[in-house]
Symmetry: C2
Subunit: 253 residues, 2 copies
């Protein structure tokens, strides 16, 4: 059994606790949480600590805290030369404290509290300071997912930026679609099959092959009708910029 302790109690920490608890290859040793009650529903009370100095020896420590706190928390660990990883898409491996062996264990998914996720289909992006630590990270990742990637910090940052486009920004376009429906007394439900098919299409076609619509076919009559239909300046602006970007194939203007 590989022993793992988790430092943190937020969304990612809670989802990792649940995933590791189910794994037959991992022994989840301890979870550090400043507020023990945050994780009390997930663990036995003797597994929870609010004191970093009580952390026992483990094969791996996973720091799952906010990006801004990673460096500080890693510098507060009261031990040396152990394997310590963070779970962030955008923080450099080098930002971890030099006292321990560094790594990254970044699950590329959007986590919502109280919404279960199937970890087995979540890509975990791995990086290690020392090549000899990579195998252990991969074993731990493979115990909860079928999909692992070896990415350096630059590639991980690229993936995180790409994830903002295909998750955060896409969801915001759903929100604008919702607003347009609501303003016209139409249920958002009407868009749901289209939203699903749009996501489904790029599972087998490239986004370039899947692109359709007035911007792609340079149908300026429809584009003009849409722009005059939109009354909100922000929505108009986004419509214009994305239409232009589609026509330039997403490349530099």
């Amino acid at each position: 059994m590989i022993t793992v302790s988790i430092i943190g109690s937020g969304n990612v920490a809670q989802h990792l606790i649940q995933a590791f608890s189910k794994s037959t290859e991992i022994e989840l040793l301890q979870v550090f949480s400043r507020q023990k009650k945050n994780v009390a529903h997930l663990l036995d009370s003797n597994q929870i600590t609010d004191d970093l100095s009580t952390l026992a020896v483990a094969d791996l420590y996973v720091i799952a805290v906010s990006d801004a706190a990673i460096a500080t928390v890693s510098s507060q660990l009261p031990f040396k030369n152990r394997l310590v990883v963070h779970t962030s898409g955008s923080v450099d491996l080098a930002d971890l404290d030099d006292a321990n062996r560094k790594g990254v264990f970044y699950p590329l998914q959007t986590f919502t509290k109280n919404k279960a996720v199937d970890f087995s289909v979540i890509p975990i992006c791995l990086e290690s300071e020392h090549p000899e630590d990579f195998d252990l990270l991969e074993k731990v990742a493979k115990s909860i997912t079928n999909i692992t990637y070896k990415l350096n910090s630059e590639q991980r940052k690229a993936t995180h930026v790409a994830a903002v486009f295909v998750n955060n920004f896409v969801n915001h376009l759903y929100q604008i679609g919702n607003q347009i429906c609501t303003e016209n007394q139409i249920s958002f439900d009407i868009l749901k099959p289209l939203i699903q098919e749009t996501a489904q299409k790029v599972m087998t076609l490239s986004p370039n092959e899947a692109q359709t619509g007035p911007a792609k076919r340079k149908d300026s009559a429809t584009i003009d009708r849409h722009l005059s239909f939109l009354s909100d300046d922000n929505q108009k602006n986004i419509y214009r910029i994305l239409t232009q970007s589609i026509q330039n194939n997403g490349q530099k203007l």
Copy 2:
């Protein structure tokens, strides 16, 4: 049996031909195509005509041609007082020629040639000039889908604009995600589980509840890191505008 003839041979026409052919309540009478070969793989040759004057009497004529051609085609029909609908999201019902009874039969989905779709989950938006024609349109729609909506031309236009946001523009953000991955030697596959979960989330949560990420949590350190990571001015511009829009909740600036 309700008799239906289709005028047109493009993507929408072809998908409707396939759907009506399977329906037990519809008799697909004829298909008009300027190029008979476009639909020769879908129909018996005696069902295909390239001469509008040979169109037999049908309960419903479905004009499935490009938006720009709808008015002209409807004015060339050599009969009067029959029920004629178009399949466009953005063309007014009133644009159909006055010689016949007007209606709209708009399937809200993205159709790709040679990619089968499951019509039963596609919303069909219906409108009729004469209230007494609505029942027939609804029967025809219900013969191929479980989801129908009664929308007036203004609501249909709103739905079409919303569809551009959640389909065309979303797909373009997938394309930018793909570009960022490619430039950094990462497979687009890494984003696929996230793309699916993002779409899945809004099946049960509102887009507003589902929103996460640096823009939502006003994490300016991450936003700045992302902006300096992006080298493409167009991508930077889209990142800035969508980040700002998320922070303004998609509303007027």
